[in-house]
């Protein structure tokens, strides 16, 4: 017996194949998507870690870097001439007192700043408390007023009937007269109460606005005071640098208008200018100190000689160079960091396809480098606080992100 129809049983049809294909394609697509997502996440994590490492190490390295690479090994200090002016001795004493005084003033100003901040917070808290009291008072007043007015209205509506009744009763017992004027008086009284309460509410509302105004003024005045105190502290610090420098100069025993050339004649050549010229233009006393464009170079010479512990340097010379270093460090350290980022690490970063923003800030100034207007939220950020050569605290922040 033959069963041709049974030959097809249990075997696949075109529909079976199509369904199988569909299942396989969906599975493959899912696998591919999962695999790509997983790989992309891993790569992103690794890149983020690298950016973070780069930012951290860039700032760490910057905190070590010396002010300049100029070599001053050829500078040799010579003996100091004995030209000490006795009047300068008095000036030194005054300056020392002044230096002591400015340090104390700085501490006082800091204290004031703290007090202003505390007072501002206290006043604002008091005002908030008063405002909430006024709100409660207004609410109570309104409730009492509503209650009184509704009572008066109730009396007013029955007044005429009551008046007539009382009149009849008065006629009976004689001598008592209640007129409708009494009802008008009740209406008038009700209106007066409403008006007075509204007026009181308006006064309280004004008081609230006034408190808001006072709060705002306290805030802005306190901020203005804090800014002024901060400015004063910055000026004091600038003054300290100059006083230090002057003390060094005066104690060395040279005239006020003398320059370092009289103490340290040098002949080394740097670029188109000799070291003599550079230092000569740099280390004049007082105001010209801050204006010189060669200050950093001269200070670098100072750093080198001071740090090498040159035996030929007297204490006074060490101090004078220290003064220059102080001035340099205070004024130029942040600029140095900015230049280092822009010309060194910044270039490397840009070549690797990264963008960056560098911000350095001390008490009195802020400098920026890179694309600081557009820092994305997912940037890698490193923050480092350093001490400049003048022992000022400065904060450096470096953001790095992929372009």
């Amino acid at each position: 017996m033959n069963f041709p129809a049974l030959n097809r049983k249990g075997q696949s049809t075109v529909i079976d194949i199509a369904m199988l294909s569909l299942i396989i394609i969906i599975s493959l697509t899912f696998l591919q998507i999962y695999s790509m997502t997983h790989a992309a996440t891993n790569t992103k994590n690794l890149k983020d870690q690298l950016m973070d490492e780069y930012a951290q190490h860039a700032l760490l390295s910057l905190s070590y870097v010396s002010p300049t690479g100029v070599d001053y090994s050829t500078i040799q200090p010579q003996a100091v001439e004995d030209t000490y002016d006795k009047d300068l001795g008095k000036l030194v004493n005054v300056s020392l007192k002044l230096r002591n005084y400015t340090s104390r003033v700085d501490a006082v100003l800091q204290n004031w700043s703290n007090n202003v901040t505390a007072a501002r917070n206290e006043i604002k808290n008091s005002i908030e408390s008063m405002k909430s009291n006024i709100s409660a008072l207004r609410s109570d007043l309104q409730d009492s007023s509503d209650s009184l007015v509704s009572t008066l209205e109730g009396i007013d509506s029955d007044c005429e009937d009551t008046a007539q009744g009382l009149n009849s009763f008065g006629e009976l017992i004689g001598g008592i007269s209640v007129t409708e004027d009494s009802c008008d008086y009740i209406t008038e009284l009700s209106n007066t109460v409403t008006q007075t309460v509204n007026q009181a509410d308006s006064e309280l509302s004004n008081a609230e606005s006034k408190l808001d105004e006072i709060s705002y003024n306290v805030d802005s005045n306190a901020q203005a005071a804090l800014n002024a105190l901060q400015d004063a502290r910055c000026m004091l610090r600038e003054a300290n640098v100059k006083i230090d420098y002057f003390i060094s100069y005066a104690q060395l025993g040279v005239k006020e208008d003398a320059d370092l050339l009289s103490i340290m004649p040098v002949t080394a050549s740097i670029g188109s200018k000799t070291t003599t010229e550079i230092i000569g233009e740099s280390l004049f006393i007082e105001d010209r100190l801050a204006e010189s464009s060669y200050l950093g170079t001269a200070a670098s010479a100072g750093v080198k000689l001071v740090l090498e512990g040159d035996d030929t340097l007297s204490d006074s010379q060490t101090r004078i160079l220290g003064g220059a270093v102080l001035a340099y460090g205070r004024k130029n350290y942040l600029n140095l960091a900015q230049t280092a980022v822009e010309n060194k690490f910044g270039v490397v970063l840009t070549k690797q396809g990264y963008a960056y923003c560098f911000v350095a800030q001390d008490c009195c100034s802020t400098i920026r480098a890179g694309e600081c207007a557009t820092i994305p939220h997912n940037s890698a950020r490193a923050i480092r606080t350093i001490n400049t050569l003048s022992n000022e605290s400065a904060q450096m922040t470096l953001d790095i992100w992929r372009k």
């Binding site: 033959n2 075997q11 780069y54 860039a58 070599d71 490397v348 690797q352």
Partner: protein, 160 residues
């Protein structure tokens, strides 16, 4: 009763012409499936391979900028120029101390301030094509008052 024809029911068995088309489709799908699997696995392996090389390079760089023989006074990222000079001829020592099994590495230190100045430590065999490079900023200390900006570059590749 003998029903010899039923022995082959449900088996691939003798095919008629209409069986050939689904069979071909099935074989094509099988090949596509295998190709996809190979593709995914291959791409994953290559990706993982690259990531693993970068992680190794980062690990070695970490050690080099922190507690390695190059660092001055134990300060992270501050490399001593003198020590960099000293180890110029001792790559094998570096490799023994900081190497990772199955990997080889080379180190380059660039002085960004003095562009001509650099130190290189590399094996004689040289890197193969499949390598990963990590660069981190460092400071290079020449003397107490001379510290330059620098860059430490580590390249890692597999030995086998």
């Amino acid at each position: 009763m003998k029903a010899a024809g039923l022995n082959n029911k449900g088996q691939i068995g003798p095919m008629s012409l209409e069986d050939i088309f689904p069979m071909v489709i099935a074989i094509i799908i099988l090949f596509v499936f295998i190709a996809f699997i190979f593709n995914i696995t291959g791409a994953n392996l290559a990706q993982r391979n690259t990531e693993e090389l970068h992680e190794t390079a980062l690990g070695i760089t970490h050690i080099l900028v922190s507690k390695s023989v190059f660092v001055y006074a134990g300060k992270d990222s501050l490399l001593d120029a003198g020590k960099l000079d000293d180890y110029s001829y001792y790559y094998n020592q570096l490799s023994e101390k900081y190497g990772v099994a199955g990997h080889n590495f080379s180190i380059s230190v660039y002085d960004l301030e003095d562009t001509g100045r650099q130190w290189k430590y590399e094996p004689s065999s040289g890197a193969n094509q499949n390598s990963a490079t990590i660069a981190l900023p460092v400071a290079i200390r020449y003397s107490v008052d001379s510290v330059h900006e620098g860059l430490l570059e580590t390249k890692v590749w597999r030995t086998k």
